[in-house]
Amino acid sequence: MSNVIIIGSQWGDEGKGKIVDLLSQQVGTIVRFQGGNNAGHTVMFGSKTFILHLVPSGILHEGTKCVIGNGMVVDVDALLKELDELKTMGVESEGRLFISDAANIIMPYHKLLDQAREERLSAGKIGTTGRGIGPAYEDKVGRCGVRFADIENNSVFK
């Protein structure tokens, strides 16, 4: 029983999506462990092209469980959109997709901050995707993030 990590060895875009897609035929569970919806895994299956930003590409394999790990930051609306898209393509996620209760949430203000900063730094841009990933991680490290486990407890906002 093997537990294998697949990572990119350069600056991203190495084609991990395809490799993971190939290997996912052999596995029971696929776990994403960092980042958010700034990934972009292009998967071709038949004549269809899928770009998955958040949900592990293993969701396309029936019977494979997919996990959004605690190390990720999650944009809830982007997640819902992706789940809806998958549904229209005939992929059912419920019972197969699991989201860590310890994952931090990307809040609307994280996205606004990200975009505002990028505009401000016209020269020497870091080159972010403007999706609030960086600010969400900052709040996580700054211990003022919001985790799924605490979301119904309004006091975490105060």
Binding site: S9, E14, G69
Partner: protein
């Protein structure tokens, strides 16, 4: 504080933000679990688990070309902290690597090409970001980058992708060292930003194969010079290649080793991919 002062966007109402979030959350609440526990159960149930990294090693917050990095640990260690399992559970680490190099956005990139070869790689490789649509910068394969990637990730396997993109190149270059302006040599990317910016690559030249590798599914059908190129990469990095990708489709793939089989010689389901040959670098090498 400077960010707050410079921020000119709309003000958000805290209650509204919370209510909206709660509404969306109710739709996804059936998916929320203690995922560390779930993964542990899956491991104990005897199934293979795959930890899928995003971005790449040189975008890692600790090991990347800081500050042009992402805000998380993209290296294999991140799978343990971010997936909620201990390092002793990991059986193999596969590094995916293009047969050349690309980068999106700013930051140092010593082997970047600004000539027609760079254009050819961008065109043949369709090098535009999947998330942002931004054109990617293209350059030669950089073993100095990869050596550190092997070290910080503990790579046990390599998957080489987009080999076919290089089919039309007469000469192929492999970066084997860097040199700074003062003539100092480096075998891996140094940490100093000021030095990273001025690094010039030192290349080893290899003849291109100038024939078709696109869509090849059998290692023996690859052009001999393409095999030599791959062998040289294995030799320099001392890590075996387990997959070669020769095109965008799932079937455009050469599978050389089963990454799941390494520590499970028996007891697998029987539908595993069988290794078709030993790792390249243990076989006879074709020296340039």
């Amino acid at each position: 504080m400077q960010y707050v002062l410079s921020y000119k966007g709309p003000l958000l109402d805290a209650n509204e933000v919370f209510e909206n979030l709660l509404e969306s959350y109710r739709r996804i609440s059936p998916y929320i679990v203690d995922s560390s526990e779930l993964v542990d159960q899956e491991i104990k149930s005897g199934k293979h688990i795959l930890f899928e990294g995003a971005q790449g090693t040189y975008l890692d917050i600790d090991h990347g070309t800081y500050p042009f990095v992402t805000s998380s640990n993209t290296v294999s260690g991140g799978a343990c902290t971010g997936g909620g399992i201990g390092p002793t559970s990991i059986t193999a680490v596969g590094g995916v690597v293009k047969a050349y190099t690309t980068r999106v956005g700013e930051g140092p990139f010593p082997t970047e090409l600004f000539d027609d070869v760079g254009e050819l790689l961008a065109k043949e490789g369709n090098e535009f970001g999947a998330t942002t649509g931004r054109p990617r910068r293209c350059g030669w394969f950089d073993t100095c980058l990869l050596k550190k990637a092997v070290r910080v990730n503990g790579l046990t396997h390599l998957a080489v992708t987009k080999l076919d993109v290089m089919d039309k190149l007469e000469t192929i270059k492999l970066c084997v060292a860097y040199e700074d302006k003062a003539g100092n040599r480096y075998s891996v990317m140094p940490s100093k930003q000021a030095v990273q910016k001025e690094l010039k690559p030192v290349y080893e030249e290899i003849p291109g194969w100038l024939s078709n590798s696109s869509g090849v599914t059998d290692y023996d059908q690859l052009p001999e010079k393409a095999k030599s190129y791959l062998k040289r990469i294995e030799e320099l990095l001392e890590v075996p290649i387990f997959i070669i990708s020769t095109g965008p489709k799932r079937e455009h793939t050469i599978i050389l080793q089963d990454i799941f089989a390494d520590k499970t010689p028996e007891g697998t389901k029987g539908d595993c991919i069988q290794p078709s040959r030993p790792p390249c670098h243990t076989g006879p090498t074709q020296q340039q």
